[in-house]
């Protein structure tokens, strides 16, 4: 039978795994946006920043979720 501490650790493990996945996507996005910008395609900067903000918001929401447990 799992204790409250075990459940809490499971939640933080799950959140960390999801945040890590989002972070990898965000790193790829930054690299791709920078590459486009340096190639003279400045129009990629705005969608890149918006998607990055959404990913950061998702990371923050997961982080808050851990605090609630």
């Amino acid at each position: 039978m799992s204790t409250p501490d075990d459940r809490r650790t499971t939640v933080v493990h799950g959140a960390a795994a999801l945040i890590a996945v989002l972070l990898i996507v965000q790193m790829w996005l930054l690299a791709a946006t920078l590459e486009s910008f340096l190639a003279g395609h400045a129009e990629a900067a705005l969608p890149g920043a918006i998607v990055s903000a959404v990913l950061f918001a998702a990371c923050l929401a997961l982080d808050r979720l851990v605090d609630r447990h």
Partner: protein, 171 residues
């Protein structure tokens, strides 16, 4: 002092709660990941800011960079454009045309030079090469063509009037 019957003696005497310690370590790691995510967002916002500044900028100044009569076939000179420190290379090709490109290799910003014997621009750092006619990558690690300087010939004078990314003109 009486101890709880459910706890063994060692648990009572060792003050570290393993589960609590583990949770705190994971929690701090999660916060570190979120902070890294904020760093990624900051990077994207910095690129956006640079893009906005580029869009709002004044048209590039035109500048006389050389006299055509001073350059023989296969000669090359270095000049700064559009700003001081932005080194560029003006080349008079074997065919007699004038072309100019940024001197910064698009790989790791080493200075490229005109290799007259091969009629191409070469980067000595990591063995990359660019076409002298288009600035396109011929071989090696550079990921993009060299940015080209748009030239105008006014009589004997060669003027730099803009910069293009190779395929399309920026300004």
């Amino acid at each position: 002092m009486s101890r709880k019957p459910s706890l063994p003696l060692w648990r009572e005497e060792v003050s570290i709660d393993i589960a609590q310690e583990r949770w705190i370590a994971r929690r701090q790691f999660t916060r570190f990941l979120v902070l890294t995510s904020l760093g990624m967002l900051t990077g994207n916002l910095w690129i956006l800011l640079r893009a906005q500044m580029q869009d709002d900028g004044e048209p590039l100044a035109q500048r006389m960079i050389a006299r055509a009569s001073e350059l023989g076939l296969g000669d090359a000179i270095v000049f700064s454009y559009p700003h001081e420190g932005d080194d560029c290379l003006l080349v008079r090709t074997a065919a007699g045309d004038f072309v100019a490109y940024s001197q910064k290799c698009t790989h790791l910003s080493c200075a490229v030079y005109y290799a007259r014997e091969h009629d191409r621009l070469e980067c000595p750092c990591h063995d990359g090469a660019f076409s002298v006619r288009t600035g396109a990558v011929l071989y090696g690690p550079p990921p993009r063509p060299l940015p080209a300087v748009v030239l105008e010939q006014r009589g004997d004078e060669i003027w730099a009037v803009g910069v293009s990314s190779g395929a399309e003109e920026l300004r």
